[in-house]
Structure formats: C-alpha cells, structure tokens
C-alpha cells in the first residue's frame, strides 16, 4: 500500500502516545500497529523502514523497528 498514507497513519498514532513519554510511547505505538494493521500494511511499512524510513517520527521509527524484529509475518499468501 502507498507508504505515504501508512506513514501518515503511523505518525498520527505516534502523536497520541507522545504525551505519555518515550518509555510508554514506543511500545504503545508498536502494540497498536500490531493489533490493528493487516499484514500487507505491516509489510509495506517494514519495507519503507528498510528503505530508510523517510518521514517517520523518531518514536514511530523506533516502534516500527521493534515491531518488525518481533514479527514473523507470513510472506504473500
């Protein structure tokens, strides 16, 4: 899916958790994306991270990186 839209959505999630401090924000963002994004959306945002992750807020980037590490997504079904 278009990375622009996903980056926008991820940053939007990031903004909600921002006021909770970085300790809570990073796992909060990661958990939210884990619970609510479909695999193709996760794959696309991981690919975008691998491609440099332009446009992602620092907390969001960290959250996506940690989620990517913890996730073993099925390849395209």
């Amino acid at each position: 899916m278009s990375p622009d839209r996903l980056i926008y959505m991820a940053n939007q999630i990031g903004k909600f958790f921002q006021s909770q401090g970085q300790d809570k924000a990073v796992p909060g963002i990661a958990e939210h994306i884990k619970k609510f994004w479909d695999p193709r959306m996760k794959r696309a945002i991981f690919a975008h991270l691998d491609a440099g992750g332009a446009g992602m807020e620092p907390n969001v980037r960290e959250a996506i990186a940690s989620l990517k590490q913890a996730t073993a997504l099925p390849t395209t079904p």
């Binding site: 839209r5 999630i13 909600f16 909770q20 939210h32 619970k35 479909d38 079904p77």
Partner: protein, 957 residues
C-alpha cells in the same frame, strides 16, 4: 395468533415503595402509594368507564365518566384524579353513578356522528365501548341542535364544523369526531415533549389546534404518532387503518431504524401490515415512537425494491435477472477466482448494521472461516469504532454503561456531539421529560441543535469550533481537577491511582485551562467553567454522545477524555450516571458484538489470542488466520493498489455513506467482483457485478441489539418478498464457495453465538420470549442481563485514566477553503435515506440543504434557497442554501441523506488515529453561488442511470 391487547390502567404507574390497601367493590386491593383509584380498580380487574384517561399521560379529570362513590366522602369524585388512601371503601357501580354516566354519554353522543359502521375506528373506538358500557340506548337531546358534526345545518353553513385535515401523510385529523378529551394534547406535551397541540377556544368552541390553528403538517408537529395512539375516537386515525381496516393479529418486533431499538406491535391483516404501534412493555421506548418507526415502513413494498438476483460481467452492462443458484455460483466463481489470482487475502466483506445479530454473525463467519482471512468490517468503522476503542481502553467494555431508564435518575445531562431530537428521537423525548422535571442540560455542539432550545428546556450551550472536542474535554477536566471537584474516594477505590495522578498533572497544566484554550475552541471560558462545576457537583451526571465525538481525527481520544471525566467525578456504576454512546443504526451495537471488526472475534476478543481462536476453530472446524484483516478505508486503499479485488457488502451503502466519494468510486471500480446484498439498487450497486436481493425486518426472525446493549427479538410477520431471508442468502453464497453452514432457524445461530461468546452465554430465544429482552452481559453471573455496568468495579479491573493531548486536525481552513463544514442528520430521514426516501417522509425533507450563517451568506451574495457550490479539497457538489444562525459564522452544515447531493464528495480521507473512523465532521470548504449541478454530479447521475438498467427478460420459447 390474535391481537395483543395491552391493558390500559388509565393513569401512570406509581413508583412509590409504600403500599396502601383499600377496598374496591368489596375486594381488598394493595397498590403503591400515589396510585389512582382508577388504576387500583383496574389492578383488581374492575374497569371503571373512562374517556379522557389513559395510562400514557397524567390524569386530567375532564370527562366525568370515571366517577366513583367513596364511603364517608361527599359527592362523586373522578377516580382518575383521586389517589388511593388506606382503608378507603370505594364503589364503582351504584344507581347514582349509572345515572350520571349515562347522562354524560348522552351529551357526548348528541354531538358525535353516528356513522359507526363506516367509521375508520369501528371496532377500536373507546367512545363506542363506553356507550356500550354505560348502557346508552337513547339520546334525549337529539342531534339537531348546535353541533360540530354536520357541514350544513338547515341548509346553512355550520360555523362549528371543520373539514378533515389530511395534510399529514400518515394520519387524518377529523374534527367532527373529536370529544375534546385532550389526550392528544397531553401526549404531545408529556410523552413527546413537542407541545405542538393545544385546545383553542372555550366551552363549546374548544377545538384541538395544531400550532396556531394550522394544519398538522404546517405546525411544529413531528409526526411521532403519540396523539394518534392516545386518541380514543376516530379523530386522529392512521390513514392505513382507514384504507385497510382494523388489524386481526399482532406480533411484537423491534424497529429497524435507529439505535434506540423501539419495540413495536406489528398489527397485521394476514401478511399485510395495517400499522405499527409502539409496545408499552418495550423497555427501550416504554410505549413511545417517532415518525420513522411508527409510520415510515412503506419502503418494504416500494416499487423500486429488487426481488430477483441479478448478475453482470462488467458494470457497463445492464443487469441480467437470474435464479438464486446461478447468482450464487457466479459470485462464488468470481470470488474464488480472485483468490487464486491475487491471493487469499484479496477478498473480504462488510457486515450490515441494519441486519440481525444472527445475519451479521454468519457474514463474519463466512469471511473468517470461508474466505480464510479477517477482512471483515462494518459501518461502525465509520461511526462508533472510536467508542469501542476508547471505552475498552478505559473501562474494559466496548459499549455504553446504562439503560435508557437511567435517564429518569439523572440530575445533570451532558450531550456532546449528538442531536437526539433528530437522530434518537424517542430517547430525546424521555430525556426532555426528565429535563422538564428539573434536571439540568449541557449541550456541547457547534450547532444550536433542537436540544439546546425546546419547550420548557433551556440548555447551557458550549458552541465549540468543529474539531476541538479534545481541547474542550480536557479544559472541563482542568476545572474539575484544579477547583478540587474530583471524587477522590471513587478514584482511589475504583481506578489506578498512579495513572490518575499522571492524568491530573497533565490536565492541570495552565495551557489546558478554559481561558487558554478558548482561542482554539471558541468556547466562553466562564460558560465552560460553569458546565464543569455543574457536571461535577450537580448530583447524578450522565454523558450522552454521538458521532460529533467519534467522527474526528481525535475521535478515540475524545471518547477516552469523556471516560476520564466520568471516572474523575465518580459518575459511573449506578443508575442515573454513566457514559452513553448513542449508536446510529438499529444493530450497530450488535454488529460490533458479533465480531464484525477485522481484529476481533465475537465478544470483542482479539483474533491473535490462541485460546479464543481454538474455541472457534473447534466449533467451526477450520483453521483461522491469527492476523487482523483490513478495515474499510484500508480495503479501499488496497483496492486502488490492486491487492483487494472482491467484496461482499450486506446491507450497507458504502458509496454514499463513506467519505471522499471519488476515492470510493476509484476503489470499487478497481475491484473485479462487488457483491451487493440489499433491498434496493443502492449507490454501491452502480459498481456491482452481483446483486443479491435482501429481506426487510418484517420478513425474517432474528435479534437486534440497541445502544443500551439490549438484545430484542425481530419477528417475521410476512414471507420474504425476495424469497429468502438474508441469513439464508449468506448460507447460499457460502455453500457455493464450498463452505457449508447448516442452520434451520436463526435461533440455532443464536445458540452458537451463546456457546462461543461469554457475554451472550445466557441468551436464547426462549429467554428473550420469556423476559422480552435482555442486556448483555447475560450469563451465569447475570442470568437476566445487566442494565447498569461497572457497578462494583470496572470490567477491566481498575479504571484507566489516559492522558488526552489535543492535536489539531490536519484539515485546516485557509484562504481557498475558509469555512468548516460539519454534517449530521434530520428527524424524518435515516442514514443514506435508502429506506426513508422511499416513504412519504420526503414531505419533511426532500433534499439536503446547506445551513449557513447570515454573515457568511451575505459576504458571498447567497440568499435563502439559492443554489450554491460547496467545494473542498476532495471534491465539489451543489445544493440549496438555508440561511440560519443555528450555525456559527465560519461553520456550515448539511445532511447526507440524498445521493443527488452526495455530501461525501466533499468529505476527506482524514480519519481517527486509532480506528480510521473518517473525519466527517470537519472539512474545510468554500461556498459560492452556483447555476446548477456540478460536473461531478452530472457525470455521477449519468453513470448511475446507465448502471441501473435491467435487461428485459427473454421471451420463453
């Protein structure tokens, strides 16, 4: 089957717990203190003759028919206005009373037409019954004197006579049959709260008068039907009764319009509906109704209803009518073909929030178990998904905390981003009744809605700028915390104290004060402080909210902020308080409960949970996918991208109801198979390849769950006109796709739901028949359901406070788009209007109008009724302007009921951060005078006309 006769006790039930014993006609009767003698007698099975009394309104004492004699008291008091007292000895039938009553009836009948045989109320007339009850055999006064009955007397015009008022499309007012009992006037005041009716004149000149002697349609009347229900004669009669005749049997069922979930008696003749009458025992509506449920059911017989399945290869082709089997195998081959070509996750479906729990459950089952993915969503995505997220986070359940009866114990009502008078009218009537008794009302809404000012109701109105809900909620919290109004005992006992302290520190920051945020919100800080103090200290405080809260980029944050407020003030866990989302569609609560969200199985359990999945896998005998599926907006994005190519949409018009229509059109056009399952060729069907005709709520069995979590039966009163109930259609499609589901009746589906869903464990059709309805959770702990939640503690354990920082939406006004558009509903129309536009309700609202402030209109040279162009970054449309100061300068407002306006061409892709619920309520726009439809509207209309063609059937050989 026979007609369900509800006992009319004559006066309302007393709520007193003190009991009083008296003697009526030699029988000892014990009733609550405050009960009338009339009601006590009825309790004992003795019906005292009456005309002006009915138990939907307070006693009035005008007809003088219900007189009784009480030993030791002088005279013959009216039993409706005389309360019981201990030890009274009452006689309801004596020689004196018989004579008096007969005399009263003689007077009534001397001025009443004697056309009983051809009268619309024949067989259902209380005047006729009372004439019989008192043994009236003769009218000594004759019929020739002054009267209201005849148009002419002795060849001269009779000035007392008034013609029938047929202006209302659903009922007739025949003044010649009126006995001036005032029941209609009192029903309009006490039950509906509109005060549209009055008695004009005095003595013999007394007449029922809508408004200032206007027609019913021309008056303030909202056509709720309460007056018609109250009328004891044929004065106010449903036109359907006049046309068809009296019903012979009736069945209790649940309205298929809004989330209030009114119980109705469908009064029938054979398989023809004669009328829908609100059911007194319905616990959501308590015998009241609105114009939609009461009258607007004619769409079920509308000529545009599609009754045969249809298919086509390309959307440019005309439709071809086929058999069910051919439609199923065509659809199945397409969907399976897409999966082979693009992968298992390339198809999905949308469950209907208008269909039953059982039907919704089957659609999500088909998708999860039959399609093998979790690409299932429902219209709650675009309305109350933030409620699910917000309340689950803070309280631990995805639903409102109270029942509607709770409003009777409320002292302060806060209505946020909701206009119940339009969208949840029966609840609004119950709310207004409480407000007239003295409860206070605070309305937080950009518009001065009907709730802000209505007869005998004046709200404290905080007119905020669209998109600033979180700032206002946090400012309210700021006042509560900094002025020491927190209910600390409650918070310490019920909530996580550390999280509370973090939250309290955050809201107390000076930048969250009403004064500091006023520049964003536009709300007067003094009024905001007053509102906060009233809510925190005014007794039982209850918050009711609607889509004005959820349909924002910070929708979930606002829901959390509301929950924070309720916890901080201890307004949770007892009658009269709580957090109450007013759900939009009839079964949107149910469709969420039934696992319509892509990440949750029925009962709000995440799909990644192994234990939960195991349970479903064992019963369904399939392996489930543990990854969440696509949400509706994600489906559209994936379709445009080319990875989501087939969709099954049951009872939902996504093209008209979802935001940014051009994007939805692009998505639907990109798909290779769109299956629409609906009553009508809706807007989505213009892009569909398969059309499966749907059945109406009158044609099937099932259950709906309303906004109070109340599960109520929907009962079949006629054979499906399309041949199959919707649950049978889903089973047929599933079978063609190689996934067998075997149910003989929806009750078996409910049994499966109960077996798999802990909050539904105790629900069965037998229990619903026995109790009438139950509110989930209904299980071993609460076998009769749960009216009020979180009584001794929160479902999640400790209540969770979450910091809610205001983040401005990215949809901003600027020089090109200087106004903010917000959208909403109107009383007579429902959602996309597919049903209500196909009824006479169009007399009240034939088109969507743009409300604009006089100041903004003048700047643009727009006059009332002018055509204007409404343009946003997403698109443009035209509609007519209505100049009003209900909206503030800088804000414009419209409804989305009509496809030729398509308000959603204007709305954008912005959505709630947590749930992707679209930001319908804030769009930056420009308004300018216009000469006619936009190019987009013309192209849309041409495509729709082309797409709706149905090929003529081929002649038989």
């Amino acid at each position: 089957m026979s007609l369900i006769e509800e006992i009319d006790f004559g006066t309302p039930r007393s709520k007193s717990e003190t009991m009083v014993t008296l003697t009526i006609d030699g029988n000892q009767v014990t009733v609550p203190e405050g009960t009338s003698i009339m009601r006590a007698a009825m309790d004992a099975g003795h019906q005292i003759p009456k005309l002006c009394a009915t138990d939907m309104v307070d006693a009035f004492g005008s007809c003088r028919l219900c007189l009784v004699e009480i030993e030791g008291r002088a005279g013959t008091p009216a039993s409706c206005t005389t309360p019981v007292m201990p030890g009274l000895v009452v006689h309801t039938q004596t020689e004196r009373l018989k004579k008096l009553r007969k005399g009263v009836m003689e007077l009534y009948i001397s001025d009443h037409p004697l056309d009983c045989l051809t009268c619309g109320a024949n067989g259902d007339c209380e005047l006729q019954d009372m004439a019989g009850a008192v043994g009236l055999r003769d009218v000594r006064y004759g019929y020739e004197g002054e009267n209201h009955v005849f148009a002419k007397t002795d060849g001269c015009t009779n000035d007392h006579w008034m013609p029938k008022d047929e202006s209302n499309p659903y009922f007739t007012y025949d003044p010649s049959k009126c006995i001036v009992c005032s029941r209609c006037v009192r029903a309009c005041e006490e039950v509906q709260g509109t005060f549209a009716l009055t008695i004009s004149g005095r003595g013999f000149d007394s007449r029922v008068s809508p408004g200032m002697s206007e027609s019913f349609l021309g008056s303030e009347c909202v056509s709720c039907g309460a007056c018609v229900q109250a009328c004891p004669t044929a004065t106010l009669t449903e036109k359907s009764v006049i046309e068809i005749g009296q019903p012979e049997h009736s069945v209790v069922t649940t309205c298929a319009y809004c989330g209030v979930g009114c119980a109705f008696k469908a009064e029938m003749r054979g398989e023809e509906v004669v009328r829908m009458v609100p059911y007194k025992d319905g616990k959501a509506n308590r015998g009241h109704s609105c114009v939609k449920g009461r009258f607007a059911w004619g769409y079920t017989n509308h000529k545009e209803r599609i009754l045969n399945p249809m298919i086509r290869e390309r959307i440019e082709d005309p439709w071809r009518e086929v058999s069910w089997d051919e439609a199923f195998s065509f659809a199945a081959a397409k969907m399976r073909g897409i999966q082979t070509k693009y992968g298992r996750d390339a198809i999905g479906g949308i469950t209907s929030s208008r269909c039953t729990n059982e039907e919704t459950y089957l659609v999500q089952k088909l998708i999860r178990a039959g399609f093998g993915n979790n690409n299932v969503d429902t219209c709650a995505r675009v309305c109350h998904s933030p409620t699910g997220y917000g309340l689950a986070t803070t309280f631990g359940t995805s639903a409102g905390t109270q029942d509607f009866d709770s409003v009777e114990d409320t002292d302060v009502v806060v209505v946020i981003g909701a206009n119940p008078a339009s969208a949840h009218p029966v609840f609004a009537s119950r709310l207004k009744k409480r407000l007239r008794q003295g409860a206070k009302l605070i309305v937080i809404d950009p518009r001065r809605t009907e709730m802000v000012e209505s007869p005998h109701v004046k709200a404290l109105h905080l007119p905020l700028m669209p998109g600033t809900n979180v700032a206002v909620m946090t400012a309210l919290a700021h006042v509560i915390v900094t002025e020491g109004l927190v209910n600390e005992a409650f918070v310490r006992e019920r909530c996580d104290w550390n999280e509370f302290e973090e939250w309290a520190t955050f809201v107390a920051q000076p930048n969250n004060s009403p004064e500091a945020t006023a520049i964003l919100t536009g709300v007067d800080p003094k009024a905001l402080r007053e509102a906060a103090r009233t809510y925190a200290t005014g007794g039982n405080g209850a918050i009711y909210y609607g889509l004005g809260v959820t349909e924002h980029s910070q929708g979930s944050t606002t829901v959390i902020a509301i929950a924070n407020l309720a916890m901080a003030t201890g307004n949770i866990g007892r009658p009269g308080v709580g957090v109450n989302p007013l759900r939009g569609q009839n079964n949107v609560q149910g469709s969420c409960d039934m696992g319509s969200f892509p990440h949750e199985l029925p009962g709000y359990r995440h799909i990644s949970g192994d234990a939960v999945r195991d349970q479903f896998e064992a019963l369904w005998n399939v392996k489930l996918n543990p990854e969440p599926g696509l949400r509706i907006p994600n489906m559209f994005d994936a379709a445009v991208e080319g990875t989501f190519m087939g969709i099954y949409v049951q009872g939902e018009d996504i093209l008209q109801s979802d935001p940014n229509t051009s994007h939805v059109v692009a998505a639907l056009s990109a798909m290779e198979c769109v299956i629409v399952h609906d009553l009508f060729l809706n807007e989505t069907a213009n892009y569909a390849h398969v059309f499966l005709p749907g059945s109406s709520f009158l044609e099937k069995d099932g259950t709906f769950t309303n906004a109070e979590r109340r599960i109520q039966r929907v009962r079949k009163v006629m054979t499906p006109k399309n041949g199959l109930a919707d649950w049978e259609v889903t089973i047929g499609l599933a079978k063609a796709m190689g996934f067998e589901m075997n149910y003989k009746h929806p009750s078996e589906i409910m049994d499966e739901i109960a077996a798999l869903t802990p909050t539904f464990a105790g629900v069965s059709y037998a229990k619903l028949d026995e109790l009438g309805s139950v509110q989930w959770p209904c299980n071993e702990k609460a076998p009769e359901g749960t009216p009020v939640m979180h009584i001794d503690g929160f479902v999640r354990g400790k209540g969770k406070f979450v910091v809610t920082e205001y983040v401005a939406t990215d949809e901003r006004t600027g020089p090109r788009y200087p106004l903010l558009l917000t959208t909403g509903r109107i009383l007579s129309q429902y959602n996309v209007g597919a049903q209500t536009r196909r009824t006479d309700n169009v007399v009240w609202h034939a088109e969507d109008r743009l409300e604009i402030h006089p100041h903004d209109a003048e700047q643009r040279g727009v006059r009332d009724g002018d055509w204007v162009r409404l343009k946003s970054r997403a698109g443009e449309t035209t509609l007519r302007a209505e100049i009003t100061d209900r909206v503030a300068p800088g804000v414009v407002y419209t409804t989305f009921h009509h496809p030729d306006t398509q308000a959603n061409v204007i709305t954008t892709d912005y959505s709630d951060w947590a749930t992707n619920c679209p930001e319908y309520k804030v769009t930056a726009v420009q308004v300018s005078p216009s000469n006619g439809p936009s190019d987009w509207q013309k192209a849309y209309d041409a495509q729709a006309r082309h797409s709706r063609r149905i090929a003529p059937a081929e002649a038989a050989e």
